[in-house]
Symmetry: C2
Subunit: 243 residues, 2 copies
DNA sequence: TGACTAAATTGATCCCGGTCAACGTCAGTC
DNA sequence: GACTGACGTTGACCGGGATCAATTTAGTCA
């Protein structure tokens, strides 16, 4: 599909000291653990790096691996029989991939413009969960947070106009960037307009038109294609008027 | 809002013997527990009954309670500032209400045409989870299942045409009924056309037209307003052609 | 049973956003 | 610097589904 996915995933094991300096540690599963517990986790972890467009796995693959994202962005998507694609979500540093009860992945995961992840065997994590209830507790917290995101996504898809969807999307990216300690305002968009469209249930032309319109109305300034500055967050929030 | 919500919720405590004969037991949180553990759970449970349209709680209420549904159907919905409503989901016997990390409920929960639930204090469940890791494990399983449902909902909202949405909806209700041990084929619809519309992101007139169209095409037979018989499941599945 | 109201159906019209097409822009490569 | 192909923007047109409106059906209660 994506011809620019030329890089091969690099993979290597690492020790607990690496975890201690991991910038995503407090955001993801590992944040719940003490140093000695962390060494248990690090023993079953593998660090991997993916190039732009490269797939971590494909829809339908046997689901025997889960991931913590430590850097970059990952796109989760499902494809229908006729080729239409729904982007389920964009995941960033601190996010977890793998909440599924099925034997095969129900989605494809691809690095948007490069990503680094910690990879775990599903069975290893299940075993660790039985040994350390903290791990399962933390996973439940993260699953709960995923449910909240999915429900916001549902409301946006079901009730939003095109402009509302794009506004909500920009505010969401801004909020997420802040949550992981990044800059909230010049919003960085690693994904293409088509990715955004497939996330929002729109045509990519419509996304493009909405960006232009929001800029003309003075709500945003499009610095470059991948950088948008929010000029009037209030008005933008009014567009995406979820209670 | 709903003037027919005249019944007042009945509430009473009960002992573990009641749990043993609960038809929803193996579907929900309690299924993971042995008899002695079940008695712990039953001590913190309250059984409640809600009439048609009656609210378990409203969006914004302090979220200090969670629920297991034991009978009937519950509608979860969020309302936007301007009054538009998104139905997040329909929950049935065996389903859990309360996966949220926020201090206040992000949705309103209402009995569709009457429902029975087991009610638990959020703190009590958290405490029980620390004592019995099985409980947290089971909650994680249920949360994972909720994520899968939400993601299917997202794909349907983002990529489906009106007819596809309605077809998927009927098949989903049928599947869910079978999962909880009910009849799969004459599908029972406790909710109104407007409820369905707000779930699917459509106008209720469009939902009505789709029903008529599916009937004219011979895919379904509308017995009464609330009972639809699936005549051609294959063709119906082709409409909702998710891979 | 009839009166009343909510829910559902059906028709007519309109508009938002999809589709198709042309063009512009940028990054990488030779 | 010219070529190339992916990505993005803009315009023209069209159709699916929203909206408004009228009518029918179902459900509830006196």
């Amino acid at each position: 599909m994506n011809k620019s996915a030329m890089t091969t995933a690099a993979s290597f094991a690492f020790d607990a000291s690496r975890c201690l300096i991991c910038s995503a540690r407090n955001l993801n599963m590992c944040g719940a653990l003490e140093q000695d517990e962390l060494s248990k986790l690090s023993k079953i972890a593998r660090c991997e790096s993916f190039g732009s467009g490269e797939a971590l796995f494909h829809e339908g693959d046997t689901a025997n691996t889960v991931y913590n994202i430590t850097d970059g962005a990952v796109r989760l998507s499902s494809t229908l029989k006729d080729g239409r694609r729904q982007v389920i979500g964009f995941l960033f540093s601190g996010d977890f991939i793998g909440f599924s009860d099925r034997p095969n992945y129900p989605w494809t995961a691809e690095a948007v413009r490069g990503a680094k992840v910690c990879r775990f065997g599903r069975n290893d994590i299940a075993k660790l969960g039985r040994e350390l209830p903290k791990v399962e507790h933390r996973l439940l917290e993260m699953a709960t947070s995923d449910i909240a995101s999915a429900q916001e996504h549902i409301t946006m898809l079901g009730q939003g106009s095109a402009a509302e969807k794009v506004s909500s999307f920009l505010l969401m990216l801004s909020r997420k960037a802040a949550q992981r300690g990044g800059v909230a305002n010049p919003v960085h968009l690693p994904m293409t307009r088509e990715d955004i469209a497939d996330y929002l249930g729109l045509a990519f032309e419509t996304v493009s038109r909405c960006f232009t319109r929001l800029e003309n109305e003075g709500l945003i300034a499009i610095g470059s294609i991948r950088v948008v500055r929010i000029k009037d967050a209030e008005a933008l929030a009014d567009y995406s008027e979820n209670e």
